[in-house]
Amino acid sequence: MELSVNHQALAYLASAILFIFALKGLTHPATARRGNMYGMLGMAIAIGATLMGAEVQSYGFIIAGVLAGAVIGGILAARIQMTAMPQLVAALHSFVGMAAVLVAIGTFLNKAAANALNPVLMGELSAGVIIGAITFTGSVIAFGKLQGLISGQPVKFAGQHALNAAIALATLALGVHFAMTGSGWSLALMTLLAFTLGVTLIIPIGGADMPVIISMLNSYSGWAAAATGFTLQNNLLIIVGALVGFSGAILSFIMCKAMNRSIFNVVFGGFGSGDAGGGDSAGAQAAAKGVKSASVEDAVYWMEDANKVIIVPGYGMAVSQAQHSVKELMELLNARGVEVKFAIHPVAGRMPGHMNVLLAEADIPYDAVQEMDEINPEFATADVCLVVGANDVVNPAAKTDKSSPIYGMPILEAGRARQVYFLKRSMRPGYSGVDNLLFYQDNTSLVFGDAKDTIEGMCTALKGGGH
């Protein structure tokens, strides 16, 4: 059976609508799984309609490619650790970018063979290649940083911005030249430069900014798909590309706002590189006062008779794989009639919403997990706040110390709880390199040790102790 062009267009429309419903499903955890199903159905329709169209005549390579992709994708999805989600996402972004480049060049070869090239088409091809190539190498670098294959430190050198600008201009100029002349050399050189630009754009960005970078590359991968849609005159690709592009852009915006930084600041200025204030800063003064440390038993003593305990998890919790122990602690406290809530800062973890997934993996119900704006008024009524592997996101310096690099960043107001127990491995500062003023507050005590061991110790004490 062969689908007519009009029928195919209708199938694409159905597919586009299903994708919109898929995203709409993520409005609430209860509808999200159905949304994902809509997405799968939409994709199946899109692929089916394309294969049944008149343009696709040979199937050998296609079947091989789809099957191999299904096996590899299925294994990746089944095996990946939730802590490693950001790496998987970065890898998948790079695939979209590379696929867009390959499709654009393949289209060029096919159209050239059929003598069907024109300047508009070649202009669109250039856009597809440039965006796709930047997405590819950018995502590869992001993957390397997340996986620890290359240093997460910002790589900076003099004249970096000038160099990037020069590469970008040269890439664009080659794109225009290619569109006007159809020169294969321009195309090749432009592709090469765009690959380089992806590297030089992402390499100066530090590990702490990964949530923004993941979102930004997510956005790029959407724009790459949209550009491919323009090349192929395919409205489905254009619609989906726009949806994904905007999704990533909005996430980048949310992440930047949660760090009180502009996207330009993230892209063009590495974090933690600035001078962290003079010796007279509040941080330095407080440091002289020293900090209190507490034992596991002290913390348990306060928690077991509390009405409400708020736990602030950070990436450190994931690193020490403490989320399952945290779940046990929650259950033990719940059994004693203590209300336990989790407070999530938008940039906690290595990608947007990362902590939520890690808590969900540990079987912590999502209605116990709250976002910053929801939970902030509740800290004042909490008896105990337990900070597990978070740091900068609870630092009051963001509100009080104008000289602090994180000044102005919205924070979780952990310090308003009656007692704050800060689980820490050492006195090392957070990602921003800023000293945490919360350590020195009167109601704060530090519990030193590995987060997982400490929480397990608390669980044992709660089980054993029958005060």
């Binding site: 993520l26 999200a32 939409g42 005549q57 590899i72 999805a77 979209v96 390959l102 192929l232 969900a360």
Partner: protein, 95 residues
């Protein structure tokens, strides 16, 4: 109106849909959102199929198309399945 301009219309309107739909997504599902958008941006597979399946496609174009099909297919399957796996973990409090 030229075909390209029509495509541009579609693009701009789709941007508006994207804007309003994405702001509605709950922050707790932002990781599944990234994974799902990843899966659906695997829609470039349609372009890859068109390049590969063209009867007159030369060997180079066919090979490029095959690679593109493979990569996009990893995205589609990997993206949807991992999103499903994550969403299955989100549970309400058992009462």
């Amino acid at each position: 109106m030229s075909e390209t301009l029509l495509a541009f219309y579609v693009f701009v309107l789709a941007c508006f849909i994207g804007y309003y739909v994405i702001w509605g997504v709950t922050p707790s599902l932002h990781t599944p959102l990234v994974a799902l958008t990843n899966a659906i941006s695997g829609i470039v597979i349609v372009g890859a199929l068109l390049v590969t399946g063209l009867e007159s496609a030369g060997t180079t174009a066919e090979l490029m198309g095959f690679l593109a099909v493979l990569l996009a297919s990893i995205n589609v399957f990997g993206g949807f399945l991992v999103t499903h796996r994550m969403l299955s973990m989100f549970k309400k409090k058992a009462k």
